[in-house]
Symmetry: C2
């Protein structure tokens, strides 16, 4: 995700970092606890490994997530939210709530029930 050259407002900074298509869902999944790459890949429908890694790197670069690498085979890595990551997760929670509102407006009540969001 390319950052702008000039910022007029800190909000723009955070937004540029979060804008990626899969960023919020990644943060959402990580809020549930530590996850391996393959965990995340199987839990996030439709994401490719490349995008997952790319977004994880960008989130890590700005300290929203961090990871632990374990020695030995098979390879083991765990990703998790930093304090900063937990903080914007609060924002993501609000987005989730609003999303439910929108889908209700859109008559997708059945989908929401089916998926356990209601």
């Amino acid at each position: 995700m390319k950052l702008r050259n000039e910022y007029t407002c800190p909000l723009e900074m955070t937004h540029d970092i979060i804008r990626g298509k899969w960023k919020p869902i990644i943060l959402w999944q990580l809020s549930k606890g530590r996850k391996s790459l393959s965990n995340l890949k199987s839990e996030i429908t439709g994401i490719s490994q490349k995008m997952l890694l790319q977004h994880l790197h960008e989130l890590a670069e700005h300290k929203f997530v961090d990871k632990i690498t374990f020695d030995g085979y098979p390879l083991k890595v765990e990703y998790f939210l930093t304090e900063r990551g937990k903080k914007i997760f609060e924002a993501i929670t609000i987005m989730q709530d609003v999303g439910i509102e929108i889908m209700l407006d859109d008559n997708r009540e059945d989908f929401l029930k089916e998926q356990g969001f209601l």
Copy 2:
């Protein structure tokens, strides 16, 4: 902003709507009160009229903002946040806070003071 065909989670819905480069700043500005198009244009540094209108339309389409059109000349229109708009504005406030954190990490304290964010 193109919406996906399939959603696995309401969060993705909200995110797709907010993703646009200028959406959060528009919402931020509107949180201060009703604004005309030219108000917004002059307050948001770098935005073109085309993008401003496009993003306002998309936000209106999903009921984050609404507008009042007044009769007579010169033309007068006022944009404002809906209840839903005020709700995600809470999320945007958090993003602003985190943005300040990030800029502090990045030694942009002087910029933040200069702009009145500290």
